[in-house]
């Protein structure tokens, strides 16, 4: 397996610090070789450990035991941890583009993306809703056909709608939207996790999954019909299930991933159970792509307070999935 490309994210955020801390954990956690992509000065600003500049992903394995390998992108301008600026945003975008390209070419075994500031990215002309959609486009995949999966040690969830007001969720749900996410989730579990016959579950939208229509009709009119079509395609999926009783330990044993109708339905259980280990993974791409499930945390950048747990989990999951994909 080729080394993973880890884009540092915004140079003024906690990305450089948690990538460095992930490298420090390489022996204790048996982390396979990876290399950072970004401005090496952003690492030096928050960490005094060894880095080494490389120009090819293949060099990473040779140096990884002794120093954190970095493939440099353009100068990020003045780097002050906690104080994002325009050159830094441009650098984070260039890092993402380069790292995604290396993964797309196969030179990198997979892509891990550090946290960026969307507000900053928009100021330098970024037009995608987030890194996920950008990476999908660079891979030639429509955003409709990828799915965001949140993965922790005992739960995987896939939100069918994401960053929209709660009052708009019910009207956004369609049979076709649900089916596209169900299909992407099933394919993603096969390809990335090596699960031959993934077991899916889908939540209801309303309390008690609508109680046969008494508490809402989306289960009857949209979700159940989508489930029927998916089953006819051979997909193993149960539901719609009452959302409140599907996330405890015994219930989680029944499925490999839970499809949820809205952001917080997917994120509340994941973060309640696995706050420091949540990984955001994009399903439906030709490459492995993961990210820690948190933001830039500018308010603690440069203070050596950032917890690298989610970044380590993102790297470990990317390595795991890349190894599965590399199987003959």
């Amino acid at each position: 397996m080729n080394p993973l490309a880890v884009a540092l994210g915004d140079p003024a955020g906690i990305g450089p610090e948690i990538v460095a801390k992930a490298w420090l954990a390489r022996v204790a956690r048996s982390i396979p070789p990876f290399f950072a992509v970004g401005d090496a000065r952003s690492i030096g600003a928050v960490w005094d450990g060894p880095t080494i500049r490389i120009s090819e992903p293949a060099e990473a394995a040779r140096f990884f035991a002794d120093a954190l390998p970095v493939i440099e992108v353009e100068d990020a301008g003045d780097i002050v941890p906690g104080q994002p600026n325009t050159p830094g945003a441009r650098c984070s975008l260039d890092s993402l583009e380069l790292a995604a390209g290396l993964a797309r070419s196969g030179a990198a075994g997979g892509l891990v993306t550090g946290p960026v500031s969307k507000a900053q990215l928009y100021s330098v002309g970024f037009t995608h809703p987030g890194q996920t959609e950008f990476v999908a486009e660079r891979c030639g995949i429509s955003a409709d056909n990828v799915a965001m999966m949140l993965a922790g040690p005992t739960l995987r969830t896939v939100p069918i709608t994401t960053h929209v007001p709660l009052r708009d969720v019910a009207d956004m749900l369609t049979i076709e939207l649900i089916l596209s996410k169900v299909r992407a989730t099933e394919r993603g579990l096969v390809r990335n996790f090596g699960i031959a016959s993934p077991r899916l579950a889908i939540a209801g939208l309303n309390p008690h999954a609508g109680e046969q229509g008494a508490l809402g009709r989306e289960e009857i009119e949209i979700i159940a019909p989508a489930v029927e079509i998916a089953r006819a395609e051979g997909i193993n999926i149960i539901g719609p299930l009452p959302a409140d009783t599907m996330f405890h330990a015994r219930a989680r044993d029944r499925y490999d991933a839970a499809l949820c109708l809205y952001h917080d339905q997917a994120l509340i259980p994941l973060k309640a159970l696995h706050f420091d280990e949540g990984v955001n993974m994009t399903l439906g791409l030709p490459i492995v792509r993961t990210a820690p499930d948190h933001g830039t945390a500018f308010e603690i950048a440069g203070q050596n307070r950032a917890d690298p747990g989610a970044m380590i989990a993102a790297i470990e999951l990317a390595a795991y999935c890349a190894a599965i994909r590399a199987l003959p």
Copy 2:
């Protein structure tokens, strides 16, 4: 403290079995005296342990060590576990009425209610949305001024709206509704838990609590103004907080109860963390009232498969709160 009254719920559900199992755990769990209210035959149908008929709550303490005390209500007709019928529904309603009256008079130290079938109750003329509203009315309290709290060992949540379709939630939220639940929650924590200065948190409705209006405006227009008014009244409340990051262990340490905007926002984290120990407690009543946070489970009634964990937790919590209220 006077013994607790435990209404058996529907005689064909798992109520009788889990009340009997709770009595069996009285020594191991140091459960203080309680008595069942219902048809003793519903216990005999699923359990061969000792019961004793009593006519006054005060007798319960004398017999509790050796037998499960029962205050009888009318004959529930033919009792077949798993097969609810009209006489059984009437019996469950009479049991609730009697147990609530004994708690209201002070003869019982508090009220614990077993699971009932709402569909069955409606068939015998029950017109309340649930047991909570019935008990509130019998206590002379408007349903607007009580709050349903879900309590587990490390989390308490209060849903501000409950059994309504998700698409209707946003339009149901008003500053006044939120304030009435905030006030009931604060008073309830003081009276039932002896917390002198309760720390409350309230969730946002939209992803990331609306991101300053970009993902919804209810936080700005309704929730934050309600929080401001509550603070001006001296209530210690934080929020609106992003719902996905307020339920992990460190976040839960910051508050004594979390107010949530809709059913699943409150129930998903509670049941993900504390599925077998979730207690439904009514705040704002002159009496202590708790219930296990699950239904009649007709499908497993009479098979000795019901887990009494939530019933035991409900009895323990009622005893704890009754003892707090009895302090001078």
